[in-house]
């Protein structure tokens, strides 16, 4: 199989996403007062409504409707005042009523969009922008200095309910195929779910991943879902088709499931694009089918062939009154909108003078963005000078640590914004070296104390006394006359050697910048 890059030179991938988010921040289910709780003993959060007992009737959760309107406002959707719930009829054992209560042709949120800034490696997947000049709009993207911005349409966000959970036995690794029996737990049944459907505006797996990441940031900022891809509170299906570059007609699409991490989303789509290209290049045809991404085998497997379109016998739910949202309701929700990642990014650039790149990566994670902001407050008069180093520290070191320790949350760590600022001060006034700074930072993640204490304890106070440094430099130069000769003869690369020797002599505590200066000065005096 060709690589993704090769494939995308010949083929244009057309990708649309369907993203489900459970509204885990709510107390209760969509249509009944049962508690929302992940991991409770099976069937302990059920009632006549979510068990689909005969005679039970649904009553919608107001907070869920507010949440979806919030999601719609945050994704530039138009809020439809008039909408209804519908019944989507199909029999499946995880669906207690054997119909899903969902929305019809008109959802609460319609016609939205998100703009994705794509840069770095992610931008390289887009091989068709060679002729697109910076600032120019080419299709749905606008070229930027370090990549491009993609305008991705959102068809709709609708409100629905989740199904129960099933565990399968007797087959391989709990798979449904080959299972002899299954157990059904309806605790999750009726969990409020919002489904966002994008336009087929995405062209690369990287864009798809970025869209998903950005949407997750937004939902987290709104506080409507914990967006855990692992626990399934944020789920994504992808629709993929290919067409030859220059072609305008869409190809046959496949639907891809089980992409339960950003990496799986990217890799699953990338594989499927390459697979389809191979089939097409060999003269084969793509069947409209549902495929399952297997991250261990690194391939997609057919789950179900759709011979005909599913007929769900959709009709308006007679048990639920229609919606006629008032301006008052919508404006009330709008007033609850928090600052969104895009706004925060602009504010970070404007108020702290950060580069767009730094600002964007800071706001990617709400926790770290907040941490950065609180650090900036602690920095006081030094804020302007500290913005860049603090941003780097958070974006690089702190984030790397959090990424490597998925089980740890930032607020559980002993490091505080004040301590981070104190660390930067020690660096700024030359008390410790950059290398020592890294060591202190690492210690701050584990030990509940101020950076000064660590510096003291470890005796890592940087030697910045110029008299002391000069003595060390003289010593080193005197001990290496041959090297001095060579240096003076033009082998200036030896400077590093002298610095290293001096650092060794100061047990790593010499201020490397100062040592550097002294060596250069002393050697030039000899020249």
């Amino acid at each position: 199989m060709k690589t993704l890059e090769e494939t995308l030179r010949t083929w244009e991938a057309v990708i649309g996403l369907e993203i489900h988010a459970e509204l885990t921040s709510l107390q209760t289910k969509m249509f009944c007062g049962c508690k929302l709780e992940f991991g409770a003993p099976p069937n302990t959060h059920t009632c006549p409504v979510c068990l689909g007992m005969p005679g039970a009737l649904p009553v919608p959760n107001r907070a869920a409707i507010e949440s979806i309107v919030l999601a719609g406002l945050a994704t530039n959707c138009e809020i439809e005042k008039h909408s209804m719930f519908y019944r989507k009829n199909y029999m499946y054992p995880d669906m207690a009523k054997n119909f899903q209560t969902t929305q019809g042709p008109i959802a609460f949120c319609m016609r939205g969009h998100l703009d994705l800034a794509v840069d770095g490696a992610a931008a390289k997947e887009r091989v068709d922008l060679g002729d697109c000049a910076v600032g120019e709009q080419c299709g749905n993207v606008t070229r930027t200095e370090d990549g491009y911005v993609a305008h991705v349409g959102i068809t709709r966000i609708h409100m629905e309910e989740d199904a129960g959970k099933m565990v399968h036995f007797g087959g391989d690794e709990g798979r449904i195929a080959g299972a002899t029996h299954s157990l059904v737990d309806y605790n999750r049944a009726g969990t409020p779910l919002i489904e966002l459907v994008t336009e087929p505006d995405l062209r690369t797996p990287a864009e798809a991943r970025l869209f998903m990441q950005k949407l997750r940031q937004i939902y987290l900022a709104l506080g409507i879902s914990d967006c855990s891809m692992e626990e399934g509170s944020l789920r994504c299906d992808g629709n993929v088709s290919l067409r030859r570059r220059g072609e305008t007609k869409f190809g046959t699409k496949t639907e891809l499931k089980n992409m339960n991490s950003f990496k799986n989303l990217h890799d699953g789509l990338a594989y499927e694009i390459c697979r389809q290209a191979e089939v097409l290049e060999e003269g084969g045809i793509i069947y409209q089918e549902t495929r399952h991404w297997d991250p261990t085998m690194k391939c997609t497997i057919v789950m179900r062939v759709k011979e005909t379109a599913d007929d769900y016998r959709l009709f308006p739910e007679p048990d639920l009154a229609p919606y006629d949202l008032t301006d008052e309701f919508i404006e009330g929700v709008r007033a609850k909108l928090p600052e969104l990642p895009d706004e925060k990014e602009l504010r970070f650039q404007r108020d702290y003078g950060l580069t767009p790149y730094d600002a964007r990566h800071l706001v990617e994670h709400r926790e770290t963005a907040d941490f950065f902001e609180r650090s900036m407050e602690c920095a006081g008069d030094d804020a302007a000078a500290f913005a860049k180093p603090l941003a780097n520290r958070v974006n690089n070191d702190l984030l790397a640590y959090l990424n490597n320790h998925a089980e740890v949350t930032l607020d559980a760590l002993p490091i505080t914004p004040q301590r981070l600022v104190d660390l930067e001060r020690l660096l700024a006034d030359g008390s410790i070296s950059t290398k020592q700074g890294k060591e202190v930072f690492a210690a701050l993640l584990e030990k509940d104390c101020d950076p000064a204490v660590i510096v003291e304890e470890r005796g890592m106070k940087q030697v910045s006394d110029s008299g002391e440094i000069e003595a060390v430099v003289d010593e080193v130069l005197a001990a290496n006359p041959d090297k001095v000769e060579q240096y003076l003869g033009g082998k200036t690369g030896l400077l590093g050697f002298f610095v290293g020797q001096c650092m060794k002599a100061t047990h790593g505590q010499g201020n490397p910048q100062l040592i550097n200066e002294v060596i250069v000065r002393k050697l030039s005096e000899r020249a």
Binding site: L51, I176, T326
Partner: protein, 103 residues
């Protein structure tokens, strides 16, 4: 009489609604359904141009919602009380896909 559904359609509907019918029953059901659907003809002959549908006979009632407050539900025991088959606090069902299932 117009044939609205043939036996093949009836078999497909039976499969979708999960109702098992013998060949004889399929034949009879086909006759019954065609006769009933024929009786619905008036609805197709009405001039309904521009008439809005009324899905809910409840006047102007709208936006009926409840607060996000937990109410007491069933214990596990009560939830499973009527279950034909249960195991480990769950409803027990036989193989979903069966042999050669495609879902």
């Amino acid at each position: 009489m117009t044939q609205y559904v043939n036996e093949q359609d009836v078999r497909a509907i039976a499969e979708y609604t999960r109702i098992g019918l013998t060949d004889e029953e399929v034949a009879q059901m086909t006759i019954d359904l065609n006769s009933i659907i024929e009786g619905l003809k008036p609805i197709t002959e009405y001039d309904l141009e521009g008439v809005e549908p009324t899905f809910h006979p409840i006047g102007s009632l709208s936006n009926v919602m409840r607060d996000d407050v937990v109410t007491e539900g069933f214990t596990q025991e009560v939830a499973l009380e009527n279950a034909p088959h249960k195991q480990d606090g769950c409803f027990l069902i036989p193989s979903i896909l069966g042999e050669g299932g495609d879902r």
